[in-house]
């Protein structure tokens, strides 16, 4: 087996599916940045360079898939909460359908 090839492939897959994963995590609940990254680690064992999360969210916001709001805290250091927009939810559904189709095709050919 070519380990280096597999590792490269894995990192490409992760990169390509990161938005899909992020949107899925945000589907049912709103999160603030640090909490989101914890949740992502818990659910998927994916560790991203945490700082890249914020540029990614900015891009999703610009695409109209996500909104955010600052919520003041007692500590005086506010949290920014991210939620899916209606467009985000609809987009995610379409992505999920595509993903399911792709997964079943791959299953067929890899059997």
């Amino acid at each position: 087996m070519n380990i280096i090839f597999v590792e490269k492939w894995k990192s490409q897959v992760k990169k390509g599916t990161l938005t899909f994963i992020v949107l899925n995590v945000l589907r049912d609940k709103e999160f603030y940045g640090y909490e989101f990254i914890e949740e992502l680690k818990k659910l998927t064992q994916i560790e991203i360079a945490e700082g890249t999360f914020y540029p990614l969210m900015n891009r999703l916001k610009k695409e109209g898939l996500v909104t955010s709001k600052w919520v003041e805290q007692e500590s005086g250091i506010p949290r920014k909460y991210f939620t899916l927009t209606e467009t985000g939810k609809e987009t995610l559904e379409t992505m999920q359908t595509y993903w399911a189709d792709l997964a079943s095709s791959i299953k067929k050919i890899s059997q």
Binding site: Y32, G33, Y34, E35, A49, E50, G51, T52, Y54, P55, N58, R59, K62, E63, W70, S75, G76, I77, P78, R79, K80
Partner: protein, 200 residues
């Protein structure tokens, strides 16, 4: 919203934190005030929330771990700055923003290289205006036997050729200024258009 500084027990931690925040500040300094503030607030909140999680680690170690996981601000913020800069540039039509934005986005696709080259060509017109002012007799739009020959500086040997005539005269600078402005406007609108296509 004001950015509240996180307080540490150890001076070492405080200094590491301050220097990290300073690096973010420098990295985002080309963005608008509100975007700068937003990024700083986000990272500050991330650090604060991370530190609030229970750990057996020493404060300074905990902070260093957190910052390492966040990554180098100069690196992780690159895509954000490239995005925001382009947004700002096509909104304001400011040439300084435009050049910065194009330079930041060159890595994002061949089309930005093409835009870069076109803007540089445009800059050539501006240089031509400068040469006309310095050298009014030798710079112009030249025709030879009624067909286009040259836009630029004429060789001295052609100067004596009676078939070669400069046709714009005193209109050379106003015409070039007008063409430059119109081309700049069209090019920037195209860039804006390209971005909106990318979005959809």
């Amino acid at each position: 919203m004001k950015i509240k500084e996180i307080q540490f027990k150890e001076t070492a931690s405080q200094r590491i934190y301050r220097s990290y925040m300073k690096r973010i500040e420098i990295t985002v300094s080309s963005l608008s005030k509100s975007d700068q503030q937003d990024v700083l607030l986000e990272f500050n909140s991330h650090i604060y929330e991370g530190l609030a999680r229970k750990t057996n680690k020493h404060e300074t170690d905990h902070l260093i771990d957190l910052l390492e996981k966040l990554g180098e601000p100069e690196e992780v913020l690159k895509p954000l700055i490239a995005d925001k800069k382009l947004e700002q540039a096509t909104r304001t039509f400011n040439p300084v923003h435009l050049f910065k934005a194009i330079a930041l986005n060159i890595g994002n696709g061949i089309s930005y290289v093409v835009f870069g080259i076109l803007y540089i060509c445009l800059f050539g017109f501006v240089i031509l205006i400068y040469f006309k002012l310095k050298n009014p007799d030798q710079v112009g739009l030249y025709f030879k036997d009624d067909s286009f020959m040259l836009l630029g500086k004429l060789n001295s040997e052609y100067m004596k050729n009676p078939n070669v005539t400069e046709i714009l005269g005193n209109w050379f600078i106003p015409t070039l200024v007008a063409i430059t402005l119109i081309a700049y406007l069209i090019l920037t609108l195209l860039l804006k258009f390209k971005r909106s296509i990318n979005k959809h």
